[in-house]
């Protein structure tokens, strides 16, 4: 089932250059999609178009079988959550607790359930001790944790992460990944769109979309994308570690047959 369908999406900030230039893709329910691409390729703009923060061209975006337009915007936003690139753009509450509560209120969650939900999601991102702090007085990684907790708590059907974990420590990244996996188990229809520069993350998702100057230059599963090295040269992205390693080995005349994992590669090298 397609939760979101994007069809020939075009956008220009200045009415001259299209920074999103004829983009089409769809988000199947339950899929984890990564969008990668050079700085300024249009990733955040697409994210803002998807939630109606910027106005898309007519009939270009459909979500949950509704056209994205002024009439349906509210209903769609109830089901699509976004974590912005800069967490400060996210905060509305004066404390971490208020901030998470705000999203829940928007979804008309009964007040007597709120505390439990807030505690549950603050715990998931390790921020229980910070509930009474002002978001602006947190460290960079703590801000990102709070922004993520706020969105997870709303239990949306689609979550868009716009570089939402870029400042987390490795443990924090792992915890967020685990929380998302858990939510996907509970709700197999939950779809994730992750805009990221983290290649290890991107290439472990179900589908990778490569964006270049506002156009999609590849949209496929990771294995297939990795077979088209030309894409990487042009689009400012890079290969994940394992593939870089394999390429260098191959240049040195060492061909590896079983390249499933780093461990396998090492085994073969030591044989």
């Amino acid at each position: 089932m397609k939760l979101i369908e994007v069809n020939n999406l075009v956008f220009s900030y200045d009415k001259k250059i299209n920074v999103v230039d004829g983009v089409s893709f769809s988000v199947e329910s339950g899929k984890y999609i990564s969008i990668i691409g050079h700085n300024g390729s249009g990733k955040s703009t697409i994210a803002k178009l998807l939630i109606g923060l910027l106005e898309a061209n007519k009939d270009s975006i459909k979500a949950f079988d509704m056209e994205l337009n002024a009439k349906n915007l509210r209903a769609i936003r109830q089901r699509v959550g976004i974590v912005f690139q800069n967490p400060d753009n996210q905060f509305v509450g004066s404390t971490v607790r208020d901030d998470i509560a705000f999203g829940l209120e928007n979804r008309q969650i009964p007040h007597d359930q709120m505390d439990d939900i807030i505690n549950k999601f603050a715990a998931k991102v390790n921020m229980l001790d910070f509930l009474d702090k002002e978001p602006e007085n947190l460290s960079g990684g703590q801000k990102q944790r709070v922004a993520i907790a706020g969105i997870l708590a709303m239990n949306p059907d689609v979550i868009i992460f716009d570089e939402a974990t870029s400042m987390l420590d490795p443990k924090g990244k792992r915890e967020v990944r685990e929380s998302i996996e858990l939510m996907r188990k509970e709700n197999p229809n939950l779809s994730i769109i992750s805009i990221t520069h983290d290649l290890e993350e991107a290439f472990s998702s179900d589908e990778v979309i490569v964006l270049q100057k506002g156009k999609i230059v590849a949209d496929d599963n990771p294995e297939n994308i990795l077979e088209k090295p030309g894409i990487f040269v042009e689009s400012g992205v890079d290969l994940p570690f394992k593939n870089k390693f394999l390429n260098l080995l191959s240049q040195a005349g060492i061909e590896i047959k079983n390249d499933e994992s780093l461990e396998r590669i090492v085994e073969e090298l030591c044989r």
Partner: protein, 282 residues
């Protein structure tokens, strides 16, 4: 000259219920000409620490010496902080807040102008620095608020480079940069470092520490738990400091465990590793 922290404590919101001691008795030395990485878990005090380097935050207790400037509460030399800021350039974690001028080129030129460079000359410097960080000419007259996240980061870096600081302090400067931009900017810092600029670099990316750092400071809950060189750090189990093992180191460890006789001292990059593997297999 170097940088010296002597028993530095820093407390946020003192005398309020939200009082938070973010630095606890930090003493350390950062050597001139080093590429020093600062690592540690979320909230351990990295950003608080580096903000002491140009007097943006003043130690609650203790003192910081930077290039001959003495920073301590009540010390007279605090007046001279304006001069210090020419020598110590800081790119903040959320560097988009560093941008404020109408156009990108004016934003980058602001620093030099502020320190007495004529406008025309400053704009010339700005253009050079923008080119260095990969911002195309068509952007120079754009507003710094109407560009992408990674582009803002690049402009903020250009703004600090334009000051030609002796000490370059960078708080997660590559977060938000695309992979190619990251590699390019890192190599740029490395080059500046070779030419004598001291680099202080906060990061969660342990692979950067592996490939670029000459020194590393590990923090935990407001304290410095280790100041060492990368080789020594990675010879230990780094997970005890909530750090990860760099991917190259991980590969080396796997190969060593399987009995491959690598000369570890030769390996500083993936290219080196592959060369070593090829040599051993011959």
């Amino acid at each position: 000259m170097s940088i010296n922290f002597k028993n530095v404590f820093y407390t946020y919101s003192e005398k309020t219920p939200f009082r938070h001691e973010a630095l606890k008795d930090v003493s350390l030395t950062i050597n001139d000409g080093s590429f020093t990485c600062i690592v540690g878990h979320t909230g351990c005090g990295k950003s608080t620490l580096i903000q002491q380097l140009n007097g943006l935050l003043i130690p609650t207790l203790g003192s910081v010496d930077v290039n001959g400037y003495h920073i301590e509460k009540k010390s007279k030399s605090l007046k001279k902080l304006h001069d210090l800021r020419k020598e110590v350039g800081v790119v903040f974690q959320f560097s988009e807040y560093q941008l404020f001028e109408e156009t990108i080129e004016e934003d980058v030129a602001f620093g030099p102008i502020n320190f007495g460079v004529k406008k025309e000359e400053a704009i010339k410097i700005a253009h050079e620095c923008l080119e260095t960080v990969g911002i195309p000419e068509s952007y120079y007259k754009k507003s710094p608020f109407e560009i992408s996240g990674g582009e803002k980061r690049r402009v903020a870096i250009a703004g600090i480079l334009a000051l030609q600081p002796k000490i370059l302090v960078l708080d997660e400067p590559t977060a938000g940069l695309d992979p190619r931009g990251t590699k390019y900017i890192l190599d740029l810092f490395k080059e500046l470092n070779k030419q004598g600029t001291t680099i202080v670099f906060v990061t969660h990316d342990i692979n950067i520490v592996y490939e670029y750092a000459t020194d590393v400071i590990v923090m935990n809950e407001g304290k410095v738990v280790m100041q060492t060189v990368p080789e020594k750090l990675f010879a230990e189990d780094v997970e005890q400091y909530s750090l990860e093992t760099p991917l190259i180191q991980k590969t080396v460890n796997l190969l060593l465990a399987k009995g491959m006789k690598l000369d570890v001292s030769k390996i500083h990059s993936l290219e080196d590793l592959v060369k070593e593997i090829a040599r051993v297999r011959k």
